[in-house]
């Protein structure tokens, strides 16, 4: 009986203790992509996405290889985050998929100084030809 009480008490301490630790450490909220799964397992992408898109960058730029697996355009299209009004947010917004983790990790990226940070399908552009919004 005595021991059972002690064990229960320990269990409660351990449980509450762990939850307080979880709450203390801030963690990034990473928005889910829109497809069923990523082009590689999520764990692998978290660690290696930068080398994958860096490799693809040179292949595309120098050799004209435009496969879709590691295409930045495809990443942006799938990982688009929409605001309350239903419009895709740009890299200036802290809710942007890349920002959600890069702000947390304090890693500054300059991809979006040139690349579009939200999808803009070409059809829309030609529809508004002449007068852009």
């Amino acid at each position: 009986m005595k021991y059972l009480h002690m064990m229960l008490a320990m269990l409660i301490v351990v449980l509450f203790g762990s939850t307080t630790i979880m709450a203390d450490v801030p963690s990034p909220t990473i928005p889910k992509g829109n497809a069923e799964k990523c082009v590689l397992p999520t764990e692998e992408m978290r660690v290696n996405h930068m080398t994958k898109i860096l490799h693809q960058r040179d292949e595309t730029m120098r050799k004209g290889i435009r496969t879709e697996q590691f295409s930045l355009k495809k990443c942006i299209n799938c990982h688009v985050v929409k605001d309350d009004a239903g419009k895709a947010v740009s890299h200036k917004d802290e809710r942007h998929f890349c920002n959600s983790c890069h702000t947390y990790a304090a890693v500054k990226i300059d991809c979006f100084e040139c690349h579009a940070s939200k999808p803009n399908a070409r059809k829309k552009v030609s529809a508004t030809a002449g007068g852009k919004d």
């Binding site: 004209g64 290889i65 040139c114 690349h115 579009a116 803009n120 852009k132």
Partner: protein, 257 residues
């Protein structure tokens, strides 16, 4: 046994090589198979120097005052999307411009579009200190903005004034055409259209626009493919390279100048 077999194998191999060479010869003679090979590039294969993209512009057909090609280029590549607020008109990005010329003696006027000439020996590539300005295997002269430091040597080196520098932060880039502050850029022959697989490959926006307007002043195609429209036309009629004296062998040729 062995001594007999070896020469027999050698002969049959030679025969085999000879036979395959003959079939290749037939393939070239018919021409049809060659066109398919030249244009068929799956997305996962690199471009090759079996192709050289080129343009033939007929100044006689180019209408004075018409800016269809310029407008189409701006729309296709997201130029002048309203981001460059502080730049003067002459500073803003322009990949293709219309030039009107008048012969003082005869008063004869010609109108022509001037763009990156995609030279075989591009001076912009010679002077680039970082290797950002480069020539692709299929003849396109491009800027790798990942390595461009914005020194603008290439702009000084280009005899055609074809390149632009971006002075301001851009926010409205198109997903197919990355562009950004501090880098140099120029006509890419709409590389994002050319790199599509065979079924989806399209001519550059300026060519499409010129055709849509009924001027048909620009022919675009593979200059290494003897059966392409551009090769046929270049063979048939006289054409000129602008500043041919510089021996840059541009990929853009003109007629009627």
């Amino acid at each position: 046994m062995n001594k007999q077999e070896i020469p027999v194998q050698g002969i049959s191999r030679r025969k085999f090589l000879g036979a395959s060479a003959a079939t290749a010869g037939i393939g070239i003679a018919s021409g049809v198979s060659l066109i398919n090979i030249a244009n068929a590039k799956p997305l996962d294969e690199p471009v090759s120097n079996d192709q050289r993209w080129g343009m033939l512009i007929d100044a006689n057909k180019c209408a004075s005052g018409c800016t269809s090609c310029v407008d189409a280029c701006n729309t296709e590549n997201g130029l002048n999307a309203g981001d460059e607020q502080l730049s003067r008109q002459g500073q803003k990005a322009q990949w293709i411009r219309k030039v009107e010329l008048r012969d003082k003696a005869t008063q004869h006027e010609i109108s022509l579009p001037l763009l990156c000439q995609h030279c075989e020996n591009p001076p912009c590539v010679d002077v680039c200190p970082t290797g950002a300005s480069f020539k692709r295997e299929d003849g396109l002269v491009l800027v790798d903005k990942h390595t461009c430091i914005g020194c603008r040597y290439c702009m000084m080196a280009c005899p055609y004034k074809a390149r632009s520098f971006i002075h301001e932060e851009l926010l409205n880039q198109l997903e197919d055409v990355p562009r950004g502050k501090g880098t140099v850029e120029s006509c890419t022959f709409c590389v994002h259209r050319l790199d599509e697989d065979t079924d989806n490959r399209r001519d550059p926006a300026c060519v499409e626009a010129c055709n849509a307007d009924g001027h048909q002043a620009i022919i675009f195609g593979d200059m290494k493919d003897a059966n392409s429209a551009i090769s046929q036309q270049l063979k048939k009629h006289t054409s000129k390279a602008i500043r041919a004296d510089l021996k840059l062998n541009p990929g853009v040729r003109y007629r009627g100048i």
